[in-house]
């Protein structure tokens, strides 16, 4: 993957060096080389990036989110809190991180496919603004001279979040498919209820072709279905851990990037237990399922990395859980 940076000579100079024919030939040769199947991941740009949640990274096979894959987020087994379990919150936190991370070239938006028309943007918009601001500051001081978020080269107005409202299930499946095929999208978040194995495979191939990450929040009963997702994470709210957050401060990122406690309101954070319950074509099997605890700072969409006060840092609980 070729990154555009200030180290590349400007086109005008190349025009002076050689003629148009040579340039076209050179361009064609580079295109051909780039289109060859990659034998190694070195030099081809990052294929695995951090999810933004260190706990989740530890749970994932490649210690991060592999680009061009799907990730399923299962809601809680407890039906009474399924829609309030926090699976969407975590999926959005990962999506926002993918949108703003420096590991990927270009500024690509996050697109939500919300058939139920119930997503409420004011809850998440501050995450995007904070991350974008932080990234812009880094960019401006970066020696690499990467393009700013304003995307001067393209002249495109910057918007980091789009919402698609499909009217029916067919439109929803089509929209997710189309979005996953587009390399101009950082992540697609959807809430598909019923999707066949064929449809999921189609999405997986679409994501693979573009490098876009699909984050699908699904009901817990989807666990019984085979999947083409790279990872399947079940999210359970953790009341026990949450109660210990009573005195844990909400954190904000200061200029130095160190998190410090600022206030003690419990609504600013939320504790979850994340369980990996199978991946690509992993059917229900009696295999140990690792789980981790994760405390998310709801003001920034980042995970609490260090804890102050009475709570200990979250670590892998080592829970062995056999699927029934």
């Amino acid at each position: 993957m070729i990154k555009h940076s200030s180290t590349h000579p400007p086109c005008t100079e190349l025009h002076q060096v050689g003629g148009h024919a040579q340039l076209r030939q050179l361009s064609r040769m580079v295109s051909e080389c780039s289109s060859l199947p990659k034998c190694t991941e070195e030099g081809a740009g990052p294929t695995v990036v951090s999810s933004g949640l260190p706990s989740l990274d530890r749970l994932l096979r490649y210690r991060g989110v592999r680009l061009g894959t799907l990730m399923e987020w299962l809601e809680s087994d407890d039906e009474s809190v399924a829609s309030a379990s926090g699976a969407t919150t975590l999926a959005l936190a990962v999506a926002v991180h993918l949108q703003t991370t420096n590991e990927l070239a270009g500024c690509r938006p996050v697109v939500l496919v919300d058939r139920g028309r119930s997503f409420y943007p004011p809850s998440v918009m501050p995450w995007l603004e904070q991350s974008t601001h932080a990234t812009s500051v880094k960019d401006s001081s970066s020696v690499r001279g990467r393009h700013s978020r304003g995307n001067v080269t393209t002249g495109r107005e910057e918007h980091s979040l789009y919402i698609v409202y499909p009217a029916n299930e067919a439109d929803e499946l089509w929209s997710i498919d189309q979005l996953l095929r587009c390399s101009g999208v950082a992540a697609v978040v959807g809430w598909p209820k019923n999707v066949s194995s064929t449809g999921m495979r189609r999405w997986q191939m679409a994501a693979k072709s573009s490098g876009t990450v699909g984050l699908l929040v699904r009901p817990s009963h989807a666990r019984r279905e085979p999947t083409w997702a790279e990872a399947r994470i079940q999210v359970e709210p953790s009341p026990a851990l949450q109660s210990r957050c009573q005195h844990v401060a909400s954190c904000k990122t200061c200029n130095a990037g160190v998190q410090q406690p600022v206030s003690g309101r419990w609504i600013h954070s939320r504790a979850f237990t994340l369980m990996k319950v199978g991946g690509q074509w992993d059917t229900v099997a009696a295999v140990p399922e690792p789980s981790v605890a994760c405390v998310l700072d709801l003001t920034s969409g980042k995970e609490h990395v260090g804890f102050h006060g009475t709570m200990e840092p979250p670590k892998c609980q080592g829970t062995i859980r056999c699927a029934s």
Partner: protein, 601 residues
């Protein structure tokens, strides 16, 4: 009949356009008093336009006098004084949407191409330009269209016939308009705006030797023909005079009695002239232009010259009126089900190429496109409009979008004619050329292509950008701005308009962890069987399951201003249950009931 070299401009004035537009789009509004309002910097809503098409019929009352610029509370009080308090309760209060108004006006302008190829949007009529209304200035009360009919009137049987046709045809479509024809755009606009002030006698004089219609159509006639679907007594638009014809070269004599506001002069100039007793056009025309220039600068002499036709004053045609159109007529009608065939795709491609050819040379691209499939006689045409996120000249992409729309459209059984028209065009976005294009490199244009595809299949309102608004009521704290929707307006202008409404307010948007991930479409009443000592729910039932509250945070009182209509008074709490679920609930302060409004999904 005017000579061939005489410029003749017809102005179609659309009084109370913001309200007319709302009623056109939502006919149910006819039964309610409608107030289109704008919020000023202090947060007070002022009336931009209002109407009540079908007021109560049991008793005869005088029409309430509500002027644009009234504060909403003032207007509701006047309404209540005439019809009773219930009338103010059933009133519909709609925020001003000037972009939507312009969009529909442009559509109407394109419809007017049947009268002339040159159609322009005329200047706004600013209410408050009258003397003594300095506090209520700046409210647009009417919009207008201007049509150059210099050489086209004869095709409609003359100017008199044409102007009548325009007014009647619009009335049949539910649009109330006044029209005037004169030599210059300014004179024509003035006559149309003040048509109601021109008496039947002067109308006769104005028409000179032209054949005058015997009588203005009576209201009963219009009702019988279905042209007016209005109130049973009185009318929400005065109908003293619907059209005016100013004979060629007679605007000085004919329009001398009109007020100065019809000359499109600044309000301060009108006030200054009124102080010295100059109130009408005739009085102004008697003053020497040199002294007017010394006193008021060049604006007054310029407007006088434009009024009299002393200077050239061309109208600026609507975008998309350059006739970038192409059509194809079949020798024999083809079946609608064949529209998805390869042949039809080739035909569409051919039409697109024909439309694009002039644009490519001018470095412009298509922003919106209209495809019209005409069936046999007796069936209406099927019209498909394709809007784009950014102007483009990619033929394949445009053909894909059209075919995508056709797949979702119910086509007529037989199609006799296919025509395509570029509705709006824009300058192609500048994109820096890159030397190499790797296959995995993210390209912004791919995302734009994707947006166009999504919009084509799902509709313009289905792909949106969320934008925060500084509104305390959760339901109104954000707005979904369609990425492709307002055709003919640039995206930056749309964004500015949307954000402008929020800048006018005081508070910042409420965002962050105190807001839920999912908001229910409407609050749901909860069953709360037990309360704690502090009056908060200890348990509640939702979706058939009981939840035990372990902790809560609140209240966050949200109370909307009384002038915004039905008052919202709520105390919001965040509840966490024993199973870890987090809910956003409120207690209504009127009935003390508990509602679920959102979940932290």
């Amino acid at each position: 009949m005017p000579g061939n070299n005489t410029l003749r401009i017809m102005t179609i004035s659309l009084p109370r356009w913001p309200v007319q537009r709302q009623i056109l789009q939502q006919p149910g509004f006819r039964e309610h008093p409608i107030f289109v309002c704008r919020q000023n910097a202090r947060g007070v809503l002022s009336v931009v336009s209002w109407a009540w098409v079908m007021p109560p019929t049991n008793r005869k009352r005088s029409q309430p006098v509500i002027q644009p610029g009234f504060s909403l509370s003032e207007a509701l009080a006047v309404l209540a004084s005439v019809y009773g308090e219930w009338a103010s309760r059933v009133a519909r209060i709609i925020p001003e949407d000037s972009i939507g108004d312009v969009r529909v006006l442009e559509t109407l302008g394109r419809w007017c191409h049947r009268f002339s190829p040159l159609v322009a949007i005329g200047p706004e009529a600013i209410r408050g330009a009258d003397r003594g209304q300095s506090k209520r200035r700046g409210v647009c009360s009417a919009r207008s269209l201007q049509v150059d009919i210099s050489d086209t009137a004869r095709f409609f049987g003359g100017e008199s016939s044409l102007v009548r046709t325009v007014v009647w045809t619009l009335a049949a479509r539910g649009i109330h308009a006044r029209a005037a024809i004169a030599d210059t755009p300014v004179a024509s606009w003035a006559a149309a705006l003040c048509a109601a002030q021109i008496t039947a006698k002067s109308q006769h004089l104005l028409n000179g030797l032209q054949k005058l219609p015997r009588s203005i159509p009576r209201r009963s006639t219009l009702l019988k023909k279905g042209a007016i679907r209005g109130s049973h007594h009185g009318h929400w638009l005065d109908r003293q005079q619907r059209w005016v014809l100013v004979p060629p070269g007679r605007q000085r004599q004919s329009l001398k009695s009109l007020p100065l506001k019809s000359l499109q002069l600044p309000v301060n100039v009108i006030d200054s002239l009124a102080e010295v007793g100059v109130d009408s056009i005739g009085q102004l025309l008697r003053l020497p232009r040199v002294s007017l220039q010394e006193r008021f600068g060049s604006i007054v002499p310029m407007q006088v010259s434009r009024f009299l036709g002393d200077v050239s004053d061309p109208i600026t045609p609507l975008q998309g009126s350059e006739f970038l159109a192409a059509s194809h007529s079949f020798e024999m009608p083809v079946l609608g089900r064949d529209m998805e065939s390869t042949y039809f795709r080739t035909l569409i491609e051919k039409l697109v190429r024909r439309c694009l050819r002039p644009l490519v040379n001018a470095n412009r691209g298509v922003s919106s496109l209209q495809v019209r499939l005409d069936a046999n006689e007796g069936h209406g045409p099927t019209v498909i409009e394709v809007g784009l996120y950014k102007p483009t000249v990619q033929v394949e992409h445009l053909v894909d979008l059209v075919m995508l729309r056709l797949e979702r459209t119910r086509l007529p059984r037989e199609i006799a004619d296919v025509s395509m028209e570029v509705m709006s065009a824009g300058t192609l976005p500048y994109r820096q050329q890159t030397l190499f294009h790797g296959p995995t490199q993210s390209d912004p244009s791919r995302f734009e292509v994707l947006l166009n595809r999504l919009v084509s299949r799902l509709g313009s309102g289905a792909v949106v950008e969320p934008r925060l608004l500084a509104d305390i009521q959760p339901e109104a704290a954000w707005v979904a701005a369609p990425v492709v929707g307002v055709i003919g307006l640039s995206k930056s202008r749309r964004s500015a308009q949307l954000l402008g409404s929020s800048k006018a307010r005081f508070s910042k948007p409420v965002v962050g962890p105190s807001r839920p991930i999912f908001l229910l479409p409407s609050p749901r009443l909860l069953d709360v069987p037990s309360l704690s000592a502090d009056g908060l729910p200890a348990r509640f039932r939702w979706e058939g399951q009981f939840h035990v509250v372990t902790r809560s945070r609140g209240p966050e009182r949200i109370e909307t201003a009384w002038w915004r209509g039905p008052t919202v008074r709520r105390d919001y709490y965040i509840f966490e249950t024993d199973r870890g679920g987090r809910f956003w609930m409120f207690r209504g302060l009127r009935k003390q009931s508990w509602f679920l409004h959102g979940t932290y999904g």
